[in-house]
Amino acid sequence: MDDCGIVSRTSPKPGLVARDLCVMANQAVLVIGVGTRYRKDDAAGLTVAEGLRTRLSAEVTLVEHEGEGVALMERLQGWQAAILIDAMSSGARRGTIRRFEAKTHPLPAAIFRHSSHALSVADAIELGRALERLPQHLVVFGIEGGDFGAGMPLSPEVESSVPEVVRRVLEEIRTIQEGPQ
C-alpha cells in the first residue's frame, strides 16, 4: 500500500514498487490528483484522478493525494515526469482550466492557496526545488473552483470541466512518452 492511496498501479514486472518504475523506464509518469473529498470544489483534482483510473497505460502511476505539502514533495521525488491536478482560486470563471510548467516556473502561490494545510501545493513544489528533488518534467493543471466550504459535491461548472482536464492529462502523458519531436 502506498502513502496516499494509489488508485491504480501496474508494474511491468511483479514485485516492482512504484519507485523502481521511474528508474527502469524513461516513460514512467506519475499522475497526482490533489484535493480534499469533503471540501466541495477542492475535490476537483481527485475527481480528475477518478476519471483517469481506467484509461492509463502500465507505465503510469496514478495517486490521489490530500495535499499535505511535505508528503506531496516526497511523493514527487525520484520521478522523471509528473503531472499534478489541483483546484485553484485565481478569481477566474469557475471551471477555468490552466496549465503550468512548474519545473521551469514557480507556481503562482496565491492561486493554489486552497490547501487546508500549512504547506500548499505551490509550497511543496518550491520546497522540492530548494532541495533539488523535483522531477525533470513537472506539469500542473489547475481547475478554478468557487466553493471550498465543507461538503460535497463539486459545483456544476467545475464538474463540467473534469472531462476536458482528463483529456488534456492523457494528451500530456502521450507527449511525455513520445519524447521531444
Partner: protein, 429 residues
Amino acid sequence: MKAKVLKVDYLARVEGEGGLYVKIRNNSVSEVKLNIFEPPRFFEAFLRGRRFDEAPDITARICGICPVAYQMSAVHAMEDAFGIKVAGQLRSLRRLIYCGEWIESHALHVYMLHAPDFLGFPDAIQMARDHADVVQRGLRLKKAGNEIVRLVGGREIHPINVRVGGFYKVPTQRELAPLAEQLKWARDAALETVRWVARLPFPEFTQDYLFVALRHPEEYPFNEGRLVSNRGLDIAIADYDSYFLEEHVQHSNALHSTLKNAGAYFVGPLARYSLNFDRLPPSVQQAAKEAGLDSVCRNPFQSIIVRSLEILYACEEALRIIEQYEPPPAKAELQPRAGTGYGCTEAPRGILYHRYKVGEDGAILDAKIVPPTSQNQKAIELDIADFVRKYLALPSDELQWKCEQAIRNYDPCISCATHFLKLELDNEG
C-alpha cells in the same frame, strides 16, 4: 492617542485556515478575536445514520495530519459503548501507530512550521535554501513517523487498517523489524533536535495556564487515562460533558470550549508534559533538563522544545513496543449494543474527545467531536492579548510576526478546526 493596526490577510504555516483580529485603543488591547471554521460540525451530522464501524474511517478524513488521533478516539468511544477493552499486544500496536503520528506531526511542526520563526525566515522554503541539512534531518525524522503509520495503518495518510476492536490485519515481527532500524536513527536525530531547538532564542513570556491532559497510572498518555488539570480536576473521560462547556461566540464558526467555573484551558504538548513529566522515562527527563526545562513549562514559545522531547519519547516508546512485539489476533470479539460511548485520546495537539450514541442495530444516532484546536481557542486569544500588551512598543511588523508566532506555538490544526486564518491588528486610537 496612538493608533496601531496589525493585519495579516493569510496566516501562514498553520494547518488550515482562519482569522485573528486584534483591536488596540489608547495603547491597550481592547479586543482579540480568533475566528475559525470547523469541519467537525459537518462530520457530526454526516455520521448520523452511519454504522458504528464507519466512524474511524469517516472521522479520519477530518484531518490529514492527525487521522490516527481521530481513529483512536472513535474506536475507544465505540468500544466503551459496547463494553469491551482492547488489551495486550493490540493495545501496544495502537500506541505504536500513535507514536508514528506524533513523530510525523511534531517533526513537521518543529522543522517546517515553527523553526523558521526563531531563525528569522519567512518560511521553510527559504530556510531550506540556507539550512538544507537541517531541513533534510527534519524530513527524514518525519518520514520515520510516516513509516510507522504506513506499516501499522496500511498507508500514511488516512490509514485504513484501524477498526473497532483492533485492526483488519496485524503486522508480523519481520515486517516491524526495518522500522526499528529507522527508529534507532530517529531516536538519535530526536535528541539532536532537542539540543538544536534548546539553543533558539525565546521571548520572555510565561503564562499561568490551566493545563488539561490525560493521565495514566503508568504511561505517558496516548489513548487512555483520566482527565486531569494542574488545579485539581481528576475525572473519567465519560464525565467530560459534565465539566466542559462548548459555547457559540459570534466571531467564530468553531464552538469555544471552557472548563465550567474556570474558563479557558490549555491542551497539547505543554499541558501533557507539565502534567505527566513523572511518566517520561529518565532518558527523556534528562534531555529536558539539559535543554533547560523544568518539569513544568509555561512559556508557549518553548513548546518547540517540548514537541522535540515528545518526538524523542515516541521514538523510544515505539522501539520498546517493537522489541516486545508478538502478533496478536487482529481483533477483539465485540457485539454492538445500544448505548453511549466516550473516547478521549492525546492527539499531537492535545485531547480529542469523541462521544457516540449508538442504536440496537449499530447505527450512529448522535456524534460529538471536540478537537484540540477548538479547546485552545480561548487560550490563544488570551496569549495574544497578553503578548501584545507586553510588547506593544515593538514596531508593528515585528509585533505582527510575533503574534503569528504566538499562534503557531499552538500548532493550531485548523484543518481540524478552521478556514483561512487572517490576522488583523486594529489600532486606530
